[in-house]
Structures are given as structure tokens and as C-alpha cells.
């Protein structure tokens, strides 16, 4: 340990204060942080230097006084209180899931989200899309009278005719004529002059 052994040859008056680096070296010595060769050199220095010895003794006693610092102890139940705090901070499960469980949870959440989206989409479609059957039924009547509508030129006129009942009578008589003709055909075969 060249830095100290060469610096502190001879007897020094104890009134002489050591330098900061010398004191730091004594602290390291006190803390047992010096390698063996430096430790031996400091021990030799302390043997021959009274001032160093005095400072070392002062440091050692101050260090002992630090042992007077209180060692606070936990009040009974701190472990349990810490554990319950942990439970509060992780409300769903005190036992954290492992990585595969976490991934499974994420997957399940995604699936649930997807299913929810699909259900919502279907409901939305049903609520907003035009009802095809109802539309067809509504327009069926109109389709029946399409040639007449074309002839009349407007829906209003068609409605007036339909409301008058005139057309229904005509169609009823047509239907009764048609059924009679069909029964004749069944009984006597096709009538002469008919296309069939």
C-alpha cells in the first residue's frame, strides 16, 4: 500500500489532523474493505503513528455509537395487514395467473367481444334492414293490377277503382266463369274450338 505507508513514516504529533484521504483510508480499514496487503500496511502505520491511531480510535468509537440507532420492529399483524393490502390491490385474484392463464383470459375476452359484436350487428341489421316479406306482400296487390295501373297511368286512379269494388266484382265473375269452364272440361273433355 504505497499511498499510505510511505506517507506516514515517523512519529507524528496527535494534534496533527489527518488529511481527508488518510481518514478515508482508515474508514476503509475499519469497514474491512481493504485487500490484505493494504490492510497490513495500514496496521503497520497505526502501530507507529500516534495521530493516526487516535483518529482511528475516534472513528471506531463513533462507529460503535451508530449501533445505538433504534432498530424499529414491526407491530404485530403487519404481515397480515400487508397481505390484505395485497388482496385489495388485486381484487380479482390474489394469486396472479401464470402466463398461459393470462393468454387464455385474453383469448376468452376477445371471443366474448367478438360474439357480442356479432349479436349486436345482427340485432342492428334486423332493426334497420327493410322487411322483405312485408314489402312483397304490400306490393303483390299492386303487381296483380300492374297492366291496369299502366293503363290508368297513376296509383291514385287505381286506388279509386279498387276502392269502388267494381274490379272485385269483375274478377269474381271471371273466377266463377273460369271454374265452370274447367268443370265442363273435366266432364266432357276439351271443348271444341278451345286451344287445349
Amino acid at each position: 500500500m504505497a499511498r499510505s505507508s510511505t506517507e506516514h513514516h515517523g512519529r507524528v504529533s496527535p494534534e496533527r489532523r489527518l488529511s481527508e484521504s488518510q481518514l478515508a483510508l482508515l474508514v476503509e480499514y475499519l469497514d474491512g474493505e481493504l485487500p490484505p496487503e493494504e490492510r497490513a500496511a495500514v496496521a503497520a502505520w497505526l502501530e507507529r503513528d500516534e495521530a493516526a491511531r487516535y483518529e482511528f480510535e475516534l472513528l471506531r468509537r463513533v462507529d460503535e455509537y451508530v449501533d445505538y440507532l433504534p432498530r424499529a420492529r414491526a407491530r404485530p399483524g403487519l404481515t397480515e395487514r400487508t397481505r390484505s393490502l395485497l388482496a385489495q390491490s388485486t381484487p380479482f385474484s390474489i394469486r396472479a395467473p401464470s402466463w398461459w392463464l393470462r393468454r387464455l383470459t385474453v383469448l376468452a375476452a376477445l371471443l366474448l367481444f367478438g360474439a357480442g359484436c356479432a349479436l349486436f350487428g345482427a340485432a342492428l341489421r334486423q332493426a334497420t334492414a327493410p322487411h322483405t316479406e312485408q314489402t312483397i306482400l304490400r306490393n303483390l296487390e299492386l303487381l296483380q293490377y300492374l297492366p291496369l295501373l299502366r293503363e290508368l297511368g297513376s296509383r291514385e286512379r287505381l286506388d279509386v277503382i279498387l276502392e269502388s269494388g267494381m274490379f272485385e266484382e269483375a274478377s269474381r265473375s271471371e273466377r266463377s266463369d273460369g271454374s265452370r269452364g274447367e268443370s265442363d272440361e273435366v266432364a266432357h273433355g276439351p271443348l271444341p274450338g278451345s286451344d287445349r
Binding site: 494534534e15 474493505e33 475516534l58 432498530r71 394469486r95
Partner: protein
Amino acid sequence: MMSMSTTASKRPALSDPDLQLMLRVRDGDVDAFTELVAKYQDRVLALFYNLVGDYEEAEDLTQETFLRVYRYRNRYRPTARFTTWLFTIVHNLAANARRSHRRKRAIRLADAVPDASGPQEFDWLVAKSRSAGTKVADIEMCELVREALGHLSERQRMALLLHKFEGLPYAEIAAIMDTTVPAIKSLLARARMQLRDLLAPYVCPEGSSDPGPSESKRVGHAEKTPHVTHG
């Protein structure tokens, strides 16, 4: 092939008995967590108490330390000893508390020194009893040392407590405080010199009469006596 001892020396954490416990905590084992809390709560609390000077706050910080151990358990890597990781959390929390104190109020450690007349609080504080010292003398000495400790910087205090309470070597303290070994050497040397200056009136090396702790001499206010009085 690498021998077992070489492997162990390269990875000192492998010989750490708390490693398995912490690995169980990492897997979410709350019983292992409880075991760790029970094992280390006194040590963590003692550090915080001497760092922040208030028992209630020290207890809160102790609980927060262990909650962080659990919260950040996945970040624990068994490359360092468990205590290094634990005291790193303590160091960070103490630094946060210090910042928050600075914003709110100055820390007055002297105010928090346990009162000898209030045994209820002192029940939870155990000053290391000396064979010759009475309890009152111990409390008085404890006050003096705590008051002196209050004059150190926060980093000096942290380094000193880790060294004195936990018996940690400079290298481990440096790892905990995220600094270098020379920086820790310097911190600890300055801390000792400051304490020596503050406590010198009460400390007499062998050969001189020991003045002992006295109410009339308060740390930091005492008359500076010559450091070296031959005799």
C-alpha cells in the same frame, strides 16, 4: 465443463436461500410472499425508520415495499441476491418519500426521536442495549446519534445504514444505490468524518475521560472541541 463452484461464484444468487422463495412469489404464490414479508419486514422497517424518522410513515413505506415486490415480481431476475433487489426498492421508495417531503415540509429527524417519557412508542424501537448502559442512557445516546444522523445527506445516511444495519459490502451498496464503489467509499468516509465531528464531544478514545451523553450538549450545536486531545 464448468464446475458447480465456478457456476455458483459466477451467479452468486444461486446460493441465496431466498431465491426459491422469490421464484415462488414470481409464480404468484402468496404464501411465499407472506413468508418473505415476515422475514424481512423488521429489517426494512428499521431502515425506513432511520431514513424518514417517522414510525407511521416507515410502516407505510415498508408495506409499499412489499407490495412492489409482488407487483414487480416478474421483473425479478435471479442474477442478484434477493436482498439487493429488495433494498433497491427500499432505496427508490426512500428517494420518492424524500422528494415528496421536500415538497411538503422539511424532514426534521430530531422531532421524531423517540421520547424517553413515551414508552408506548419506544416499545417498538429496540436500541441495541449495551451491557453497561441503562435504558435511559441508551435512549439518550440513541437520540444523540439519530440527531447526528439527521445531519448527513440522504445518500450518506442510506449507505451508512445499509453498511451498519445490513452489513453489506461496498460493492453491494453500490449496486443498490446504482452508483460506483469509489462513490460509496467516498460517501461512507464523509459520513463517518461528519459523524466524528458531530459526536466528538461525547466520544473520547481510550485513555481520556468519557464525557458521555449530556442534554446540555446537542449535536450540531455543541462547542467544537479539539478533535485530538492528547492525554
